[in-house]
Symmetry: C2
Amino acid sequence: MEELKFLVAPETGKGLREGHLYDLAIVGGGPAGLTAGVYAARKKLDTLLVSRDIGGQTLLTSDIENYMGYHYISGKELAAKFEEQVKAYPIDIAVGEEVVSLGKGGEDFVLTTATRKEIRARAVIVATGKRSRPLNVPGERELVGRGVSYCAVCDAPLFSGKDVAVIGAGNSGATAVVDLIKIADRVYVVDIMPGWRADPVLVERIAAAGAKVKAYFGHEVVRIEGRDRVEGIVIRPRGGGEEVRLPVQGVFIEIGLIPNSDLAKGFLALNEAGEIVVDCRCRTSVPGVFAAGDVTDVPEKQVIIAAGEGAKAALSAYAYLIGQRR
Amino acid sequence: MEELKFLVAPETGKGLREGHLYDLAIVGGGPAGLTAGVYAARKKLDTLLVSRDIGGQTLLTSDIENYMGYHYISGKELAAKFEEQVKAYPIDIAVGEEVVSLGKGGEDFVLTTATRKEIRARAVIVATGKRSRPLNVPGERELVGRGVSYCAVCDAPLFSGKDVAVIGAGNSGATAVVDLIKIADRVYVVDIMPGWRADPVLVERIAAAGAKVKAYFGHEVVRIEGRDRVEGIVIRPRGGGEEVRLPVQGVFIEIGLIPNSDLAKGFLALNEAGEIVVDCRCRTSVPGVFAAGDVTDVPEKQVIIAAGEGAKAALSAYAYLIGQRR
């Protein structure tokens, strides 16, 4: 995967204050975290937002047509608007920092970053989102960044006039196909399931591209081939059958997402998918710790839903902190 | 209360088709209903959106600063953007119709409007929002529209240079005060509780207005006085004490909201406040009926939360309908 380009360089943000006890630490800078930041700031909470990037998965999204208020907006534009909005408030923002652990230190919560900075807060919102799931086939790891990509938005332009394969026929796979139709010469789609699992509007757009798109449903990927760069993929029918080699120069892997919940393991209750379990008010299994957006077990992964959950989490954290003061 | 000014005249919308069995009927045209409309349309559901107005409570809101994507936008502008977005999709929209009952008719759901039109649908989303709660004091009903208002956004401009009272010191009361500071000569605030229950940013703005605002906390309203128009209100300390008369020409009542759940009474489970009880996926007590936004028991009343819930409700309705087809 390409490194994310930060919309904000770490040095331009108001940084984190080590040794300071914050009211609230928000971990994650996607739609949920940024919305939580705005709501926390409006409640005058002494807040730190700490994140690897600003924008989260929206940075990896090209066309957003279902965020209410904008009939069409790119993920980067929307992230920039969210960022501008949260920066209008006096909260500390530390970008370029990854929180690797979360636990209790006396009465407070203690978070540590990959660079060994320590954050103390009276309440925490985890809004760390999800990341792409790898295929785990031979050739995949070796050829990442050399034809293997997990981000069609980032990398599609590199494949002008070439042949590519998209692995996965859900909404993110279908979105990748729609992006690639405009750029690549031929687009193969491979999925172990027997058909599309994407929104009908996307499937219709793909159908309109005709023979440019060829689908191998009910197929699985055996390996990705190539020495210095991707030269092809080998697939076969699910449950066995003859292997087929597709001569492609690019492979876009869109087979789902993994929650970024490592920091919470052993501290918060997670479900089998590794998502943080929350109630309808974004409360986790530990009082004072809230979670919002794609890292949680909220079923649908949508910007507008994540933003709504971020607002809920901040208001729940505020209610918790007010209760503590009594 | 002033009549709502429809952003869309009933005759311009695509109307409802009586006798047609819709996949989904969405009742309500506020942020939750409109978002549900966009999500349902993107899932290609045969959808009717039926509502008294387009915009719901956002039409009664002046400055929205916490809808992500817009650092500042008026309620009317945001409603117009939502409206434009939902109208880009081929769904039926019937504005100016109030649904007064909801029940089962065989396998389908049957809804009837105040004008006795019948709507049939395989699934329903109730997103009818809330309305203002009356004080229930002498003089209130008689003087509505003649100095008594439930909508500072609509009516504040009528009180230029006059003295007014705002009843209620929560967020909506505080917002009304902020609106009125710019217009009225003197603003009294009356609340039975001992202080503000509003966001600190609002309270700070009010504090900055100095002596222009005078608060009577711990007071209740006894009556509203006036013959043809409001001439004053009489208040007294909660629990008894000497009455105080405030010579005002306007009274803005901001003491909370009542859910518009009458259509669901006896059919869906409601809580003590009359809100429709939903689970985290917007499912009501009746399979196939979903609810979203302020009419539900979701704790916080915010545009971004209502929009997120509307998206969830539509996706849950889609999953329900797909399941029914099997």
